[in-house]
């Protein structure tokens, strides 16, 4: 097991190295005039560094003055020390900005994930148990609609109905107008209120795949021999479902849930942008659109790390949870 983890970790490092190389190369292949014009734009802002200073900083952090591979090594050397340079958009070190915003994203992600799980797993199981019933059809249709709904469209409809027509929530932002005057609990409630619509959006959009995953796995388990045996023994149907079947369905579910945990940090780019929640998604979106190369580089590497971590955790959990895998 330890050997397996070490092997996978080394693999991840190797993959990450190449991913970083590709991302760096893409950034370097952006026409240089673009980089220069961004530096020029930045330098023309009031209170900013001069153009030559910006370019010098660029060269220092990104090694733009040397070849792609040498420049990459230079960038990598500071990146492994978690020094990703200064953000052009926010005029602070990238890591500082990151630390400021990441917890908003995590809170949004975690709350949404929690609701997603408590809705989709029971729904998926009921659909599987009552296969081809009306409930099953309803779950399938809802799941597919969730998968097919474009985030931006659904979020806009939610805004129209709940913010504009009913006036229950604010259209944008994470805090209300009188946030500063509220008590600590009031401030918490204020933020929670602003998180309702984004959470709804994320939950509805993402429950579909989890529902279907649960349903498929539950069906597979229900068709297996040990369930038939249990039924043949005369075990009560309730017990068959909740004890024999459910526990076995949990294997793939735990695996995928574990694998999704790093994803909670990735931020919901579209949702955060639409609701202007200053999490990592919205902040990065602004940075990317504003041509903030240091922040964009960091964000993409961060996303790659999260993806790798997700698969790694899923693989390890799979072996941990399922004794049949551990033997091999």
């Amino acid at each position: 097991m330890g050997k397996f983890i070490v092997k996978r970790l080394l693999q991840c490092v190797l993959i990450l190295f190449f991913v970083a190389l590709i991302i760096y190369a893409v950034m370097r292949c952006l026409p240089t005039s673009y980089v220069e014009s961004i530096a020029r734009q930045r330098s023309s802002l009031p209170g900013s560094k001069s153009y030559t200073e910006w370019l010098a900083q660029l060269n220092a952090v990104y090694g733009l003055d040397v070849g792609i591979f040498r420049g990459f090594l230079k960038w990598l050397a500071s990146a492994v020390r978690l020094d990703f340079g200064d953000s052009w958009q926010y005029n602070v070190p990238v890591m500082e900005k990151f630390k400021d915003v990441i917890w908003y994203s995590f809170a949004l992600g975690a709350v949404s994930f929690f609701f997603e799980l408590i809705i989709s797993i029971p729904a998926g199981i009921i659909a599987a148990v009552k296969q081809y019933s009306k409930i099953d059809y309803a779950v399938t249709v809802i799941a597919l609609i969730g998968v097919s709904l474009p985030t931006f469209f659904f979020a806009t409809i939610l805004k129209l109905v709940f913010s504009i027509k009913l006036g229950w929530f604010d259209l944008y932002g994470m805090v209300g107008r009188y946030h500063e005057q509220l008590s600590a609990w009031g401030q918490f409630g204020d933020i929670a209120k602003h998180f309702v619509l984004p959470t709804c959006t994320i939950v509805i959009i993402s429950i579909g795949s989890m529902m279907r995953y649960t349903r498929t796995n539950m069906l597979e388990v229900l068709n297996s021999d040990y369930i038939r045996t249990a039924r043949a023994k005369g075990v009560a149907e309730n017990k068959v479902i909740s004890y024999h079947a459910f526990r076995n369905t949990l294997i793939p579910i735990v695996t995928i849930v574990g694998g999704s945990i790093p994803g909670l940090f990735s931020g919901a780019l579209i949702t955060e942008t639409l609701f202007q929640i200053p999490g990592i998604g919205y902040i990065s979106y602004q940075a990317m659109v504003g041509g903030d190369i240091p922040f964009s580089m960091f964000y993409m590497i961060f996303m790659a790390v999260l993806t790798l971590l997700g698969t790694l955790i899923a693989d390890i959990l799979y072996a941990v949870v399922d004794p049949r895998v551990r033997v091999n």
């Binding site: 993959i15 590709i22 673009y34 081809y132 609609i145 998968v147 097919s148 504009i164 990317m288 996303m303």
Partner: protein, 524 residues
């Protein structure tokens, strides 16, 4: 061989009703057995799936809507509609002049300080005054008391005319000389009909209560009145005839006049009159509500929403198909090679798959989109770049699927047979292995189409995908970034959203139905 076996297993036996008098058929007689090929079985299972049928109807409807609708629609993709509308515009301000207004030779000859002295002088009834710089001025009063005007001489030279009368030139830009004014004022005060100035003879006459000066050829040159008419807004020239008409209306206390086919409204504000013109303006027909001509109204650019939806559907569907084609081609080739050869080739290709799987697609495309924005890349080129980027970034899933399937198929007997008969490797992969993966490929492609359409519309919504003038469902919904549009013009963005939803839902229903239909374990 494996395929053959499947056929035998899946053969459905249906007893055909035998008429009594016919010969007795053996139980396994060909005529008593209806043989269904695997594809027919798949088809039968597919059409039994209600959701799949609904999905197919959605997709067919969307195709008809996008590809045939675009031809049938009488409008073009970026045809802008205009309409006539009544615009009330502030047209002119009119003031009745009660003060002396100066027409100076030049600013230096009669400075404002001297003007102040002049005013003091006439108040006292003096005929001479001195300015601070020592020059002495002579005042000549023209006309009767109450309607008088003054000519001011500085050491014998005429430097200014101070008068309550306004001289409006018929021709735009014509400014009468000072000598002309002097002669004209004198003639008017004396009631003479002719006067001479600058060596030419002019005629003064009354035309419908207005004093008009004609030149020697009898052309109208100047209208004299005590009304000042200032055009408002764009400095357009108001013809004297119109000024006369406005003046007449004011004198008669009328509130409305029509001049040259245009309606004017006159409103009095103290000693001023504001004239508003009800001009018919030809403007772009933006956000017009659904009507017979535009079933879904027009958008912010004055384009027909329904037609934009049709063309947007073409773009979205085409992009979907091209991207899926790119990812399938790359995925099948790399997955096929990887699964067939295994060993180090497999290892390398799988690591490449891992790497591509890790590259965050959306951020990368957003950055590229922002870059192309900054570089002002042509919209057509952008669309091509978008398709290539999406295709190149999304093949790993397909490659993994193909590889996994081929790994298990490779061990089966029919592959041993191909090896024994000496078929070349590429033929073995692409002729014997890949066709067996096609069911799963079709499923993943159908679902993939939906994903691509969502990704593309999201990017277009953010303004980083398909750009104007091309329509795309995403960039139609982009209008909601303006909250006013979002609240008040639902007909602009709601239909586009439903188009995306229905199309993607259709592809997902079909994919789902196909997956069930292809699954041999499925017994229904």
């Amino acid at each position: 061989m494996a395929k053959k076996k499947e056929v035998l297993e899946e053969t459905t036996v249906e007893t055909v009703e035998t008429p009594e008098k016919e010969e007795q058929l053996a139980l396994d007689d060909e005529r008593r057995i209806k043989v269904l090929s695997p594809s027919m079985l798949v088809w039968k299972r597919f059409i039994r799936n209600k959701l799949a049928i609904v999905g197919s109807i959605f997709i067919i409807a969307m195709f008809v809507f996008a590809f045939i609708g675009g031809i049938v629609s009488p409008y073009g993709e970026s045809e802008v509609f205009r309409k006539y509308t009544d615009l009330t515009k502030d047209y002119a301000g009119i003031t009745q002049n009660t003060e002396l207004r100066y027409s100076d030779l030049s600013a230096t000859d009669f400075p404002s300080i001297a003007k102040a002295k002049f005013v003091m002088a006439i108040n006292k009834g003096e005929e001479n005054f001195k300015s601070d710089d020592g020059s002495s001025y002579t005042i000549e009063t023209i006309g009767e008391k109450g309607e008088e005007s003054y000519a001011i001489f500085r050491e014998g030279t005429l430097v200014s005319i101070a008068s309550k009368l306004i001289y409006d030139a018929v021709e735009e830009g014509y400014v009468p000389t000072l000598d002309f004014r002097y002669a004209a004022e004198k003639a008017k005060a004396a009631g003479e009909e002719n006067f001479t100035a600058d060596g030419e003879t002019y005629k003064l006459a009354k035309v419908e209560d207005d004093d008009v000066i004609f030149d020697s050829k009898g052309n109208e040159l100047i209208y004299i009145s005590d009304f000042i008419v200032n055009p408002i807004g764009d400095s357009e020239f108001i013809p004297v005839e119109q000024k006369a008409a406005l003046k007449e209306a004011i004198e008669k206390n009328e509130e409305k006049i029509t001049y040259d086919g245009v309606d004017y409204k006159i409103k009095r504000e103290n000693l001023q009159w504001l004239v508003k013109s009800g001009q018919e303006a030809y403007v772009i027909d933006t956000y017009s509500s659904p009507s017979k001509a535009h079933w879904l109204g027009t958008d912010g650019n004055g384009m027909d929403v329904l037609t934009r939806l049709m063309y947007g559907g073409r773009v979205s569907l085409l992009i979907g198909f091209i991207v899926v084609a790119i990812e399938t081609i790359i995925g099948v080739i790399l997955g096929g090679i990887s699964g067939y050869f295994s060993g180090w080739v497999d290892n390398i290709i799988m690591r490449i798959v891992d790497i591509f799987n890790c590259i965050p697609t959306t951020p990368l495309i957003i950055i590229l989109g922002a870059m192309m924005d900054a570089m002002r890349v042509d919209p057509t080129l952008r669309m091509i770049y978008l398709m290539i980027t999406l295709g190149v970034l999304s093949w790993p899933g397909t490659a993994r699927l193909v590889r996994g399937q081929i790994l298990s198929l490779r061990e089966q007997e029919f592959m041993t047979a191909t090896e024994a008969t000496g078929i070349s490797v590429s033929r073995r992969i692409f002729k014997h292995l890949v066709p067996n993966v096609i069911p799963q490929l079709i499923v993943i492609c159908t679902m993939g189409l939906g994903d691509v359409i969502i990704t593309e519309s999201t990017l277009s919504f953010l303004g980083l995908g398909v750009k104007f003038p091309f329509a795309s469902w995403g960039n139609i919904i982009n209008a909601v970034s303006n909250v006013y549009v979002m609240t008040n013009y639902l007909f602009v963005w709601i239909p586009a959203g439903f188009c995306i939803l229905i199309t993607v839902l259709g592809f997902n229903f079909i994919g789902d139905g196909l997956r069930d239909a292809f699954d041999p374990k499925m017994k229904r």
